[in-house]
Amino acid sequence: MAQAEVSMKPTEIQGGHGHPDKWKWYDYFTFNVDHKVIGIQYLVTSFLFYLVGGFMAVLMRTELATPDSDFLSPELYNAFLTNHGTIMIFLWIVPAAIGGFGNYLIPLMIGARDMAFPKLNALAFWLNPPAGLLLAASFFFGGGAQSGWTSYPPLSEITANLPQTLWCLALIMVGTSSILGSVNFLVTIWKMRVPSMAWDQMPLFCWAMVATSVLALFATPVLAAALILLIFDINFGTSFFKPDAGGNVVVYQHLFWFYSHPAVYLMILPIFGIMSEVIPVHARKPIFGYKAIAYSSLTICLVGLFVWVHHMFTSGTAPWMRIFFTISTLIVAVPTGIKIFSWTATLWGGKIRYTTAMLFAVGLLSMFVFGGLSGVTLGAAPFDIHVHDTYYVVGHFHYVLFGGSVFGIYAGIYHWFPKITGRMLNEPLGKVHFVLTFIGTLLTFTPMHNLGMQGMPRRVAMYDPQFADLNQLVTVGAYILAVSVIPFYFNVIWSWIKGAKAGPNPWNAMTMEWTTDSPPIIENWEVLPVLTHGPYAYGMEQADQVGPAGEPLATPRS
């Protein structure tokens, strides 16, 4: 990409004076409007929910270590199953990847002092904790929602009604939060870039957030509609989805998946963005195919809106739909492949640093190759009919959600922790964390594919004894994953207090967030930066040019 022109004089500071230089600890527990505080709020809460969701997963896997339902009651198993999925998606990945990284990084990456609508931003965050409380409450009033994170009627209408209603309300709240957040991201990226930054000079994370936000705006209202109708059916005697009263159970599935399929791209697109930032820095190379990566995000966003029926191939789906959605689903593999190939090509010819951030990024890459390929097999309707609603699917989506999203979030944390806290994470501990996570993920989620193909359905608390051996292996893997988080949480807490000081740019990175202090001051910069080189100008001459204040924007290379 072309080198940016220096097109404007540095902007004067806008009313930043009189503010404190740093926030106090209690500012993080209030309705704070600083995007960095909000980003940290999102990240910390999501990491707490990650523990809760993970705890539920461990309980489920303990139950599944034996074929009989002898550890949890079947009702409780289903409640944990439902809330594990819900928490992991709506209170872990989405808030961490979109809310956390998005809020923290977007203004810093485009040279803005804050998001476009700071109060809206704070409001969006504060919708999340009550949603979590509603889910928690649902356990105390009726044993938790039990009908899976998809909550298909009629099951969701006849199992424990009150917790199901609370579950719906919680999801409507997080949905609202994500709509508010999306508007904010779009306006911020559109209007608040430093004048010297053209669209094609934005870091790729920003492109990913554009695609994510567009997707959220199209899809989320449909989920809200479905859930509101469900609440009406459960509590107010309507019969939108009640077959014996003229309703149609398949309509719910269409509404639900019209949101929830795009939701998987909502989860993964920001992670793709993180990948495109982490890999070039630690491989010391420009990202390969900037435009291709940016446009493939938009393509995924567009095509992703037309594939939802692949979750319904065995349901009430007309033949033409099975065909149309087979083809559209398979097509999504193309833009995804472009990204994978581009990252691989970015590694090629680099000078790869084996930092923990890089390990997680490359780990993601190799996991995603497998998860992506099994995704293609699921897109082909005739095969999907065999394995739909089996452990094959559970294996596939954990490959992309754990091997994909979770690895990406870890990579992002190791990469930006110095920026956020001003301190480095401990690298040896990080590597222990990586190795445990990598092995645990392989061991937990690979055998699930075999189980599914052989005949084990998903969402079961008891299963045919012939599947006992593989299930035990999976359970051991899950315990390793459970242990793997210990070095990580310890590392974060310890390094936040005592870690080595990071300085503004410990990785010698080139995107704009690294041109300010770590952690950044309250309005991000004393004087807004001016773009002098593209975000990935590694090994290029212009990278050594200096910023307006006479300081190098990035430490010059030797």
């Binding site: 990409m1 009651s73 079947p74 009702e75 198993y77 039990q146 899976g148 298909y152 006849i158 077959p243 014996d244 149609n248 159970v249 398949v250 010391r284 190379k285 390969f288 195919g289 065995t314 349901s315 009430g316 789906t317 007309a318 033949p319 065909i323 087979t326 083809i327 398979l330 193309v334 472009i338 190939f341 581009s342 691989t344 090509a345 590694l347 010819g349 680099g350 000078k351 790869i352 640093r353 190759v369 293609v376 082909a380 309707a381 005739p382 095969f383 009919i385 065999h386 739909h388 609603d389 193909m453 005949g455 359905p457 998903r458 969402r459 079961v460 608390a461 590694y538 090994g539 030797s558």
Partner: protein, 331 residues
């Protein structure tokens, strides 16, 4: 290695990857035995995908691992890598190849889908037969089917039927055996129209054209026989059909694949594929059994779920929790 030109190595690697992938595609042993006419179709598609997938997997993982080793930072070298920003021909190449692959797989899927009978559920079978019977208010000629079914099972008069129907070869034929399948929390109930047979296990003859008419009574269930590679949701209020020819005698699991409540995992039974003679004998024995006690067979229709289950699945009927969750609206 210096003297040997790069294209040579590319060729050798290409051949090796191709051979490995072809081998893996044929020898992965991931799927259970094939017991229906559809199963080999599905498996062939899967094997093709495994072959392509293995090749892509080896190439991409290989490139990643190779880069990680070959391009790691030399000790003490703090410089940057090569400033390569892209390569249009290469990018066009790796966009075009996957595009061709997925379009090919898509078309192949359509063919398999067609051969499996995916385009004709509830379709035109039995056209013209027994037209003299009461005309039905639907575009499908289901009169013969309805005549066979028992009271309360007229969901088939709906126009849209989901699932797999007759494959193109037998499209005009009547099925040899029709079984009405009802999913309820937490049991499958199989009724054989015209015989009064009701069972908790599915018995079918090998090599004959079997039609299952699937419905659900309370919540969504999903009828799955892994060895048949066939699955169809049983949707309350929406008729569905599975039509297949079992190709291998034996006993196979029937699994419920859609979350249907707390004991979803316990909703398992069996399908027994008999030889033609054994099947006839089974039907005869069941009919004889049922004959003197027609009243019982009859009353089963109006029985509560508990009574009903007690007959076909005693161990389930004893668990009061489960019964309590069933909706008391048995037809």
């Amino acid at each position: 290695m210096k003297q040997i030109p790069a294209p040579f190595w590319t060729l050798v690697l290409g051949i090796a990857v191709t051979l490995i992938s072809l081998w893996v595609g044929q020898n992965h042993h991931l799927l259970p035995v094939q017991a229906s006419e559809q199963a080999p179709l599905v498996d062939d598609l899967f094997n093709v995908m495994v072959t392509i997938g293995t090749a892509l997997f080896i190439v991409v993982q290989g490139a990643i691992v190779y880069s990680l080793i070959r391009f790691r930072q030399p000790k003490g070298d703090d410089t940057d890598g090569l400033p390569i920003e892209g390569n249009l021909p290469l990018e066009a190449f790796w966009t075009a190849i996957p595009a061709v692959i997925v379009v090919g797989l898509g078309l192949y899927s359509v063919v398999v889908f067609q051969e499996m009978g995916g385009f004709s559920p509830g379709g035109h079978h039995g056209q013209g037969a027994m037209m003299a019977m009461a005309p039905q208010p639907s575009v499908i000629d289901v009169a013969p089917l309805i005549a066979q079914t028992e009271a309360g099972e007229d969901v088939y008069s709906k126009t849209q039927v989901y699932g797999f129907g007759a494959s193109p070869l037998v499209q005009m034929n009547q099925p040899d055996v029709t079984v009405n399948v009802t999913g309820m929390q937490y049991a499958w109930i199989f009724r054989y129209p015209g015989t009064g047979i009701t069972d908790g296990e599915l018995h079918i003859p090998v090599g004959q054209d079997v039609q299952l008419k699937i419905e659900a009574q309370d919540v969504i269930h999903s009828f799955w026989v892994p060895q048949f590679r066939l699955k169809q949701d049983a949707l309350p209020g929406e008729p569905a059909e599975l039509r297949f020819v079992a190709t291998r005698e034996g006993t196979y699991p029937v699994v419920c694949a859609e979350l249907c409540g707390a004991y979803h995992g316990g909703m398992r039974t069996q399908v027994i594929v008999h030889s033609a003679e054994d099947y006839a004998a089974w039907v005869a024995s069941r009919v004889a059994e049922a004959a003197p006690t027609t009243a019982v067979a009859q009353s089963a229709v109006d029985a509560t779920d508990a009574e009903y289950l007690a007959k076909i699945a005693p161990e389930l009927a004893k668990a009061s929790v489960q019964i309590a969750q069933s909706t008391p609206t048995h037809p």
